[in-house]
Amino acid sequence: MAEIRCPMCGKPNPSERETCQYCQARLKSMVDPQLPENNADEQIGQSFHDADREAEEGSVPDWLKSIREGDFLSESEEEEALPAWITGEGGGGFEEPEEAEKIEVPDWLHNLRQEGEKVQTSALSPDKLDAHPIDDEPEWLRKIRLGQQGDDIETDRLRPVIPERAAPPPVEVQPSPVTEEESSQDIPDWVAELSGKSVFTSEPPPDVSEKELPEEKLRFEHKEEDGSLLAWLSTLEDEDTIQAEPILSEKAKEIEAVDDESLFSSELSGLFDEVDTFDFDFEEETSSEAAVIQEELPEDIFPKTASPFTSEEELEQGDNIPDWLEGISITGEEGIETEAPVETEPESEADTEITSAVVPEWLEAYRPAETVEKPAKPELIFKAEKKKLEGAGPLAGLYSVLPAEPDIAKSRKPSAITDVLEITEKQRHQTSVFEELLSGEGVSGIPGEKQIIAPQNIIRIVLFLILCITIIGVRLFGINLGIISTPPSETLDAINILNAMSHGSPVLLAVDYQPGYTGEMETALSVVLDELMVKGASLAMVSTNPTGPAQIERLISQVNKNLGHQYLENEQYITLGYIAGGTTGLNGFANQPRRFFNQGADGKPIWAASWLSNINKISDFALVVVATDDPDTARAWVEQVQPSLENKPMIMVLSAQAEPMVRPYYETIPKQVSGMVTGIMGGAAFEKIINRPGVATKHWSPFNAAVMIAILLIVIGSGYSIISTLMKQRKEIAQEGRG
């Protein structure tokens, strides 16, 4: 199966497809689908002999084959029919050099030129036409010609040309072989002036810039550049015009070239009307363009004529119009339904009314989907495709050709970005407030008068002095402010537990307070430690605080010194050390105390003492005493160690600030904390009960005096605050009343 490779995407396609099945690009040339794609460029401008050869291969339709075979005259007949001014015998008209004609003018063009001369001759002299009838002329064409005798010459002249040029092959635009010098020899001056404006006669002088050229010439050149595929038609038309009416000026030729070109292009496009779905009033477009040019001409030279296909009546005069011509016939006043040629102006088509085309079913299946979905707006599709018209290269004249370069490579003007922030009025207000706040941050306020001592510092100094004087006065003057009459229940419980403990029982003492609370904690702990030493308890001391070991040494030394004990390390007491890991370490120590503290820093086994030999777990201790100032530490001991004590008592020696948080563990039933000794009050109560006054009793009177002063100061301060607030409010009320 033959394949056609897509010129756009390069993928193979079946030979019968007209569009690529991958990229929808047109596979076959729009001008001559029979041309191979590889040498399409080379065959542009080929003569009709190629078409004849193709007709022999059977690819040319019958009607076209018949036209080509019958209507083309032989070379001898053409030579006879050529007027003298064309052949140069008469010495008039355009004299072309023989060599140039042999080289430049192909045979098909020469035949066509001869045919055009015959037609023109017959149109000008009916007698001559009767005397030399065209043998192969169709009957319908003859009727049309005869029926149009007496009408406008130009209209009759153009009609028989239509079937001859129904399917023209693509012809490369060839400049006219008639040079400017040759043409200027035998033509009048005014024709010579106009001839210089024709684009088909010669190239512009190299020294003449394009701006200096006449406007019309530029327009024709522009048309030639845009529609290179159809330029050969203009060349042919121009040639015919020259042969038929040598007396016409070059300007008239140009105008006729426009008419012929438009007419022939419309006819050509009519052939593609079945392929395309666009409705385009080409007649109106071309007529309007021709009318503009005709208005610029004098009527004596070029009488204004109507367009060859101005109405359907004129076409209906021919009875034997073939079917293929009926397919491209004019529909009413709307003109020929055809695909727009290159020369048409899209702006003028927008106002014309477009009728929908009758598309065969087989062709409708090939139409793009978007065309089928929106048949009501063909003009939009037409415009869209017209914008994508390829203007150069082998695909020139095709619509919707994919661009060779990607769109992203095309530079585009960046979209305009406004610097105005689109916000609401509320947001604008909030923004302004925020800006004011930010601007106020960098502005320093007016500094007030520098005061050596602020009033608050004075109050602080005064309060400190009051407390110090009170404490010193009570201490120096020996003022006894009494002692607690009724000891707290938690202290009584602690005393009862200590009293119930047997002599020499192992006790675990945790010193877990910060050095800053040593003054308060030792006030309460010293009396408890004194009682334990009196009971002869063996003390194993630990701490979850890194400074705990130092606190232990200080505590033992102070108790030994102040209370007359002689407790020795590693004999009566031992410092197990610091429990690392916080709560986790405490849990590990509670579960396996021996493994947690295996040996001391010197490498000696800690548990070598005789009284510790029976200690394998935490519940082997007769009592656990925890001295702490932190309620969290107390809670950790309660949560991690107390459940492992197996109903062994736990006593808390607490700072006054931790007591409210630990008391719930004492208030529970059963008690999680068996007893508490809290601060200086608990120590003083403990000393009173055991009847051994110690540090707590010594500090009790100054402490009571200081607390009373503190309470008094708090009351005075609160009263002053209330009174000042009330006075301030009354003052404000009074000011409001005045206002």
């Binding site: 010193i472 003054g519 400074t547 459940p643």
Partner: protein
């Protein structure tokens, strides 16, 4: 306190104690050099001491000694914390800090498990049980000679607990719990809870005040005991 029977070391210690106590009290006049240098010395000494304790009380006896001088089982057991500790050191190097993440995850996970289990078993369940038993008349009769007073005390504790918990409820799904649509009864309960919370904070503040006054009394007593012998024995 007299200096007659005091050795030189105790004398120097007492002098330094007096100096640093006065330096700390100088903060009454505002932030000054004496206060700052005293604080710095205190922090430095405490940190240094903590480091020494960590080395001599934890690292050496519990890691280094068993690793190099312990038995075979002790060496194997000490290897695991040693490796974990090495990886934990990488946390101080930003480039390799991720190597210490597993160790940190282990520590955090174990710590969280211990704390949560201890809180549930050591605080929540016992406290809930105690709140339930506050109105157990039979237990009061068996344990206390004044069951009526204890019953009233238990009732107050229960009411305080309930009102305090109600005060901290800020549900929006229930009509009575919403601040703008609370009923009078519910508002009264919340008000009681607010009073209980205020009393609790007052008690804590009183404890803090007592602790500070106790420390002040102890320090003032130390100053008096340090100065008076100077003038008496001088």
């Amino acid at each position: 306190m007299t200096f007659s029977g005091v050795n030189l070391g105790e004398l120097i210690g007492a002098f330094l104690g007096f100096f640093f106590t006065v330096a700390i009290f100088s903060y009454i006049l505002g932030d000054n050099f004496l206060f700052r240098i005293t604080i710095s010395i205190f922090i430095g000494v405490a940190a240094g001491y903590a480091a020494i304790v960590a080395v001599y009380n934890v690292i050496w006896p519990q890691l280094i000694f068993p690793l190099f001088f312990g038995s075979q089982s002790e060496k194997i057991l000490a290897t695991i914390p040693f490796i974990l500790g090495v990886f934990l050191i990488f946390k101080v190097i930003p480039r390799y800090s991720s190597l210490g993440n597993p160790v940190m995850a282990y520590l955090v996970g174990v710590g969280a498990a211990v704390i949560i289990s201890g809180a549930v078993m050591g605080t929540i369940f016992p406290q809930v049980s105690a709140s339930i038993n506050t109105l157990n008349w039979k237990s009061y009769q068996a344990q206390s000679a004044t069951p009526v007073w204890n019953f009233i005390q238990g009732a107050l504790i229960l009411i305080s607990t309930i009102t305090t918990m109600v005060y901290f409820q800020f549900f929006t799904g229930f009509k009575d719990f919403r601040l703008d649509k609370r009923s009078a009864i519910f508002s009264g309960i919340v008000w009681i809870g607010k009073i209980i919370v205020a009393v609790t904070f007052g008690a804590i503040f009183a404890g803090v005040l007592i602790a500070f006054i106790t420390a002040l009394v102890e320090r003032m007593q130390f100053i008096i005991d340090f100065i008076i012998p100077l003038f008496i024995t001088g």
